[in-house]
Protein backbone atom coordinates (compact mmCIF):
# COMPACT_ATOMS: atom_id res chain seq x y z
CA UNK A 1 0.00 0.00 0.00
CA UNK A 2 1.32 3.45 -0.85
CA UNK A 3 1.27 6.30 1.63
CA UNK A 4 -2.14 7.94 1.41
CA UNK A 5 -0.42 11.13 0.36
CA UNK A 6 0.70 9.34 -2.82
CA UNK A 7 -2.32 7.08 -3.25
CA UNK A 8 -4.27 9.54 -5.34
CA UNK A 9 -2.98 10.54 -8.72
CA UNK A 10 -1.91 14.09 -9.41
CA UNK A 11 -5.17 15.02 -11.09
CA UNK A 12 -7.24 13.94 -8.09
CA UNK A 13 -4.91 15.68 -5.65
CA UNK A 14 -5.11 18.85 -7.71
CA UNK A 15 -8.90 18.61 -7.85
CA UNK A 16 -8.96 18.25 -4.06
CA UNK A 17 -6.67 21.25 -3.68
CA UNK A 18 -8.94 23.31 -5.93
CA UNK A 19 -11.92 22.27 -3.82
CA UNK A 20 -10.05 23.43 -0.71
CA UNK A 21 -9.16 26.70 -2.44
CA UNK A 22 -12.80 27.29 -3.34
CA UNK A 23 -13.83 26.51 0.23
CA UNK A 24 -11.27 28.87 1.78
CA UNK A 25 -12.14 31.66 -0.68
CA UNK A 26 -15.85 31.28 0.00
CA UNK A 27 -15.66 31.01 3.77
CA UNK A 28 -14.68 34.30 5.41
CA UNK A 29 -12.11 33.98 8.19
CA UNK A 30 -10.79 30.62 7.02
CA UNK A 31 -7.01 30.70 6.81
CA UNK A 32 -6.11 27.07 6.13
CA UNK A 33 -7.76 23.84 4.97
CA UNK A 34 -5.86 20.55 4.92
CA UNK A 35 -6.97 17.10 3.79
CA UNK A 36 -5.15 14.61 6.00
CA UNK A 37 -4.79 10.84 6.12
CA UNK A 38 -5.78 9.00 9.30
CA UNK A 39 -2.12 8.50 10.13
CA UNK A 40 -1.33 12.17 9.76
CA UNK A 41 -0.02 12.69 6.23
CA UNK A 42 -0.93 15.85 4.32
CA UNK A 43 -2.69 14.97 1.05
CA UNK A 44 -3.59 18.46 -0.13
CA UNK A 45 -3.77 21.90 1.44
CA UNK A 46 -4.73 25.44 0.69
CA UNK A 47 -2.77 27.65 0.93
CA UNK A 48 0.08 25.50 -0.30
CA UNK A 49 3.55 25.37 1.22
CA UNK A 50 2.85 26.73 4.69
CA UNK A 51 5.61 25.47 7.00
CA UNK A 52 3.17 24.37 9.68
CA UNK A 53 0.94 22.23 7.50
CA UNK A 54 2.74 18.90 7.99
CA UNK A 55 2.80 19.31 11.77
CA UNK A 56 -0.84 20.40 11.81
CA UNK A 57 -1.74 17.33 9.73
CA UNK A 58 0.01 15.05 12.24
CA UNK A 59 -1.59 16.87 15.18
CA UNK A 60 -5.08 16.65 13.71
CA UNK A 61 -4.58 12.91 13.32
CA UNK A 62 -3.52 12.62 16.98
CA UNK A 63 -6.41 14.75 18.21
CA UNK A 64 -8.99 12.90 16.17
CA UNK A 65 -7.74 9.51 17.36
CA UNK A 66 -7.65 10.69 20.95
CA UNK A 67 -11.14 12.19 20.63
CA UNK A 68 -12.44 8.90 19.26
CA UNK A 69 -10.89 7.02 22.18
CA UNK A 70 -12.47 9.49 24.60
CA UNK A 71 -15.90 9.25 22.98
CA UNK A 72 -15.75 5.44 23.13
CA UNK A 73 -14.57 5.51 26.75
CA UNK A 74 -17.53 7.74 27.63
CA UNK A 75 -19.94 5.48 25.77
CA UNK A 76 -20.93 8.21 23.32
CA UNK A 77 -20.86 5.95 20.27
CA UNK A 78 -19.07 7.85 17.48
CA UNK A 79 -17.28 11.15 17.03
CA UNK A 80 -18.82 13.65 14.61
CA UNK A 81 -16.79 16.86 14.86
CA UNK A 82 -13.72 17.96 16.74
CA UNK A 83 -13.92 21.68 17.51
CA UNK A 84 -11.20 23.67 19.24
CA UNK A 85 -12.10 27.25 20.14
CA UNK A 86 -9.30 29.57 21.16
CA UNK A 87 -8.82 33.28 21.81
CA UNK A 88 -7.42 33.67 18.31
CA UNK A 89 -9.80 31.50 16.33
CA UNK A 90 -11.15 28.04 15.71
CA UNK A 91 -9.86 24.68 14.49
CA UNK A 92 -12.31 22.08 13.19
CA UNK A 93 -11.45 18.50 12.29
CA UNK A 94 -14.08 16.52 10.38
CA UNK A 95 -13.95 12.96 9.08
CA UNK A 96 -14.53 12.39 5.37
CA UNK A 97 -17.49 9.99 5.36
CA UNK A 98 -17.05 6.69 3.58
CA UNK A 99 -13.55 7.13 2.13
CA UNK A 100 -11.09 4.45 3.26
CA UNK A 101 -8.47 4.49 4.65
CA UNK A 102 -9.86 7.24 6.83
CA UNK A 103 -9.31 10.84 5.78
CA UNK A 104 -10.15 14.07 7.56
CA UNK A 105 -10.45 17.76 6.82
CA UNK A 106 -8.77 20.21 9.14
CA UNK A 107 -9.94 23.82 8.97
CA UNK A 108 -8.27 26.76 10.70
CA UNK A 109 -10.24 30.03 10.96
CA UNK A 110 -9.57 33.39 12.55
CA UNK A 111 -11.61 34.69 15.47
CA UNK A 112 -14.02 36.62 13.28
CA UNK A 113 -15.72 33.57 11.80
CA UNK A 114 -19.04 32.43 13.29
CA UNK A 115 -18.71 28.82 14.41
CA UNK A 116 -22.05 27.63 13.04
CA UNK A 117 -21.39 29.06 9.60
CA UNK A 118 -17.85 27.64 9.61
CA UNK A 119 -19.10 24.19 10.58
CA UNK A 120 -21.82 24.29 7.94
CA UNK A 121 -19.38 25.29 5.22
CA UNK A 122 -16.81 22.71 6.38
CA UNK A 123 -19.38 19.93 6.21
CA UNK A 124 -20.27 21.03 2.70
CA UNK A 125 -16.61 20.88 1.75
CA UNK A 126 -16.33 17.37 3.26
CA UNK A 127 -19.32 16.20 1.22
CA UNK A 128 -17.79 17.56 -1.97
CA UNK A 129 -14.42 15.98 -1.18
CA UNK A 130 -16.05 12.65 -0.37
CA UNK A 131 -17.90 12.64 -3.69
CA UNK A 132 -14.72 13.45 -5.60
CA UNK A 133 -12.56 10.89 -3.79
CA UNK A 134 -15.11 8.08 -4.04
CA UNK A 135 -15.41 8.76 -7.76
CA UNK A 136 -11.62 8.49 -8.10
CA UNK A 137 -11.65 5.09 -6.32
CA UNK A 138 -14.48 3.71 -8.45
Amino acid sequence: MQPTSQRFDTAVTEAVRQQLETFVAGTPGTTLAVLTSGDGFEIAAHPRGLPTVQRLAAMSSSLQALSEAMVQEAGLVRIRNLIIESDGGTVIVLGIGKVTPRLSLTVVASGDEILGRLLWASRGCCAALEKRLLASNA
Partner: protein, 186 residues
Protein backbone atom coordinates in the same frame (compact mmCIF):
# COMPACT_ATOMS: atom_id res chain seq x y z
CA UNK B 1 -7.67 2.95 41.36
CA UNK B 2 -6.84 3.41 45.06
CA UNK B 3 -3.10 3.62 45.57
CA UNK B 4 -0.50 4.49 48.19
CA UNK B 5 1.57 6.32 45.58
CA UNK B 6 1.26 7.03 41.89
CA UNK B 7 3.89 7.04 39.17
CA UNK B 8 3.79 7.89 35.50
CA UNK B 9 6.15 6.08 33.17
CA UNK B 10 6.65 6.28 29.42
CA UNK B 11 6.98 3.49 26.88
CA UNK B 12 8.71 4.70 23.77
CA UNK B 13 10.74 3.48 20.82
CA UNK B 14 10.43 3.28 17.05
CA UNK B 15 7.33 2.19 15.18
CA UNK B 16 6.90 -1.58 15.48
CA UNK B 17 9.02 -1.99 18.61
CA UNK B 18 6.04 -3.23 20.61
CA UNK B 19 4.96 -0.32 22.82
CA UNK B 20 1.22 -0.92 22.39
CA UNK B 21 1.69 -4.67 22.90
CA UNK B 22 3.80 -4.16 26.03
CA UNK B 23 1.22 -1.91 27.67
CA UNK B 24 -1.56 -4.30 26.72
CA UNK B 25 0.45 -7.13 28.33
CA UNK B 26 0.55 -5.58 31.79
CA UNK B 27 -2.34 -3.12 32.05
CA UNK B 28 -4.93 -4.10 34.67
CA UNK B 29 -7.74 -2.83 32.42
CA UNK B 30 -8.01 -2.74 28.63
CA UNK B 31 -5.72 0.12 27.59
CA UNK B 32 -6.75 3.23 25.73
CA UNK B 33 -5.38 2.95 22.23
CA UNK B 34 -5.15 5.39 19.33
CA UNK B 35 -4.07 3.03 16.59
CA UNK B 36 -5.08 3.83 13.02
CA UNK B 37 -4.38 2.21 9.66
CA UNK B 38 -0.76 2.66 8.64
CA UNK B 39 -0.75 3.91 5.06
CA UNK B 40 3.04 4.15 4.84
CA UNK B 41 3.90 0.49 4.36
CA UNK B 42 7.07 1.41 2.50
CA UNK B 43 8.63 2.72 5.72
CA UNK B 44 7.36 0.04 8.12
CA UNK B 45 5.26 -2.93 6.98
CA UNK B 46 2.78 -2.84 9.84
CA UNK B 47 -1.02 -2.75 9.67
CA UNK B 48 -1.57 -0.06 12.28
CA UNK B 49 0.29 2.78 13.93
CA UNK B 50 -0.25 4.78 17.11
CA UNK B 51 -0.88 8.46 16.41
CA UNK B 52 -1.53 9.91 19.88
CA UNK B 53 -0.94 7.63 22.85
CA UNK B 54 -1.54 4.35 24.57
CA UNK B 55 -2.67 4.47 28.17
CA UNK B 56 -2.87 1.70 30.71
CA UNK B 57 -2.81 1.29 34.47
CA UNK B 58 -0.97 -1.15 36.69
CA UNK B 59 -1.43 -1.58 40.44
CA UNK B 60 1.63 -3.19 42.00
CA UNK B 61 1.58 -5.41 45.09
CA UNK B 62 3.16 -2.69 47.23
CA UNK B 63 0.22 -0.37 46.45
CA UNK B 64 2.00 1.68 43.81
CA UNK B 65 -0.28 2.72 40.94
CA UNK B 66 1.68 2.99 37.72
CA UNK B 67 0.23 4.97 34.82
CA UNK B 68 1.59 3.56 31.59
CA UNK B 69 1.82 5.97 28.66
CA UNK B 70 2.94 4.80 25.24
CA UNK B 71 4.15 7.32 22.70
CA UNK B 72 3.71 7.27 18.94
CA UNK B 73 6.84 5.79 17.40
CA UNK B 74 7.11 8.01 14.36
CA UNK B 75 9.20 11.12 14.76
CA UNK B 76 6.65 13.30 13.00
CA UNK B 77 4.50 12.80 16.10
CA UNK B 78 7.32 13.98 18.37
CA UNK B 79 5.13 16.83 19.62
CA UNK B 80 3.31 14.08 21.55
CA UNK B 81 6.56 12.91 23.11
CA UNK B 82 7.02 16.19 24.94
CA UNK B 83 3.38 16.35 26.00
CA UNK B 84 3.38 12.80 27.33
CA UNK B 85 6.69 13.19 29.18
CA UNK B 86 5.34 15.95 31.41
CA UNK B 87 5.37 14.58 34.94
CA UNK B 88 6.87 11.24 33.91
CA UNK B 89 9.30 9.56 36.29
CA UNK B 90 11.14 7.40 33.77
CA UNK B 91 11.27 5.89 30.32
CA UNK B 92 11.13 2.31 29.09
CA UNK B 93 12.72 2.36 25.66
CA UNK B 94 11.80 -0.56 23.42
CA UNK B 95 13.89 -1.51 20.42
CA UNK B 96 13.31 -4.13 17.75
CA UNK B 97 16.56 -6.14 17.91
CA UNK B 98 15.90 -7.83 14.58
CA UNK B 99 16.24 -4.64 12.54
CA UNK B 100 19.59 -3.48 11.16
CA UNK B 101 18.87 -0.02 12.59
CA UNK B 102 18.48 -1.24 16.17
CA UNK B 103 21.66 0.41 17.51
CA UNK B 104 20.91 3.68 15.73
CA UNK B 105 17.28 3.59 16.91
CA UNK B 106 18.48 3.09 20.47
CA UNK B 107 20.86 6.02 20.25
CA UNK B 108 18.43 8.43 18.60
CA UNK B 109 15.45 7.70 20.88
CA UNK B 110 17.59 7.74 24.03
CA UNK B 111 19.04 11.10 23.04
CA UNK B 112 15.65 12.53 22.06
CA UNK B 113 14.08 11.59 25.37
CA UNK B 114 17.17 12.64 27.31
CA UNK B 115 16.73 16.10 25.75
CA UNK B 116 13.08 16.23 26.82
CA UNK B 117 13.86 15.37 30.44
CA UNK B 118 17.57 15.11 31.25
CA UNK B 119 17.02 13.62 34.71
CA UNK B 120 14.67 10.76 33.99
CA UNK B 121 16.12 7.23 34.09
CA UNK B 122 15.88 4.72 31.25
CA UNK B 123 15.43 1.00 31.07
CA UNK B 124 15.96 -0.61 27.68
CA UNK B 125 14.00 -3.59 26.34
CA UNK B 126 15.29 -5.23 23.18
CA UNK B 127 12.70 -7.37 21.46
CA UNK B 128 13.06 -10.13 18.88
CA UNK B 129 16.67 -10.74 19.96
CA UNK B 130 18.14 -14.21 20.66
CA UNK B 131 18.41 -15.03 24.39
CA UNK B 132 22.22 -14.91 24.39
CA UNK B 133 22.44 -11.85 22.17
CA UNK B 134 25.87 -10.33 22.92
CA UNK B 135 24.70 -7.03 21.45
CA UNK B 136 22.80 -6.27 24.66
CA UNK B 137 26.12 -5.47 26.33
CA UNK B 138 27.17 -3.48 23.30
CA UNK B 139 23.98 -1.44 23.50
CA UNK B 140 24.59 -0.65 27.17
CA UNK B 141 28.20 0.35 26.46
CA UNK B 142 27.19 2.52 23.52
CA UNK B 143 24.69 4.37 25.70
CA UNK B 144 27.16 4.81 28.55
CA UNK B 145 29.63 6.52 26.21
CA UNK B 146 26.89 9.11 25.68
CA UNK B 147 26.36 9.56 29.40
CA UNK B 148 23.27 7.36 29.63
CA UNK B 149 23.57 4.49 32.08
CA UNK B 150 20.65 2.14 31.60
CA UNK B 151 19.95 -1.55 32.20
CA UNK B 152 19.36 -3.44 28.94
CA UNK B 153 17.20 -6.57 28.76
CA UNK B 154 16.18 -8.91 25.99
CA UNK B 155 12.40 -9.14 26.18
CA UNK B 156 9.32 -10.54 24.52
CA UNK B 157 6.85 -7.67 24.87
CA UNK B 158 3.94 -10.11 24.55
CA UNK B 159 5.08 -11.73 27.79
CA UNK B 160 3.65 -10.04 30.90
CA UNK B 161 6.58 -11.17 33.09
CA UNK B 162 9.12 -9.68 30.69
CA UNK B 163 7.36 -6.32 30.62
CA UNK B 164 6.90 -6.33 34.40
CA UNK B 165 10.65 -6.90 34.72
CA UNK B 166 11.23 -3.65 32.80
CA UNK B 167 8.78 -1.72 34.99
CA UNK B 168 10.14 -3.12 38.25
CA UNK B 169 13.72 -2.41 37.17
CA UNK B 170 12.75 1.17 36.40
CA UNK B 171 11.16 1.51 39.84
CA UNK B 172 14.35 0.13 41.43
CA UNK B 173 16.43 2.71 39.53
CA UNK B 174 14.07 5.44 40.73
CA UNK B 175 14.38 4.26 44.32
CA UNK B 176 18.17 4.19 44.04
CA UNK B 177 18.13 7.73 42.66
CA UNK B 178 15.86 8.84 45.49
CA UNK B 179 18.19 7.24 48.06
CA UNK B 180 21.22 8.96 46.53
CA UNK B 181 19.43 12.31 46.57
CA UNK B 182 18.43 11.88 50.21
CA UNK B 183 21.93 10.71 51.13
CA UNK B 184 23.52 13.70 49.40
CA UNK B 185 21.15 16.06 51.22
CA UNK B 186 22.36 14.77 54.58
Amino acid sequence: MSADRELKIIFTGPMGAGKTTAIRAISDAPPVSTEVANTDQATVAKATTTVALDYGQLLLEDGTAVSLYGTPGQERFSFMWEILCRGAMGVILLIDGSTPTAAEDLRSYAEAFRRINPDQPFVIGVGRAPPDDHRLDDYAKALSTRGIVAPVFGVDVRNREDVLLLVETLLCVLEAQSFETDHAAH
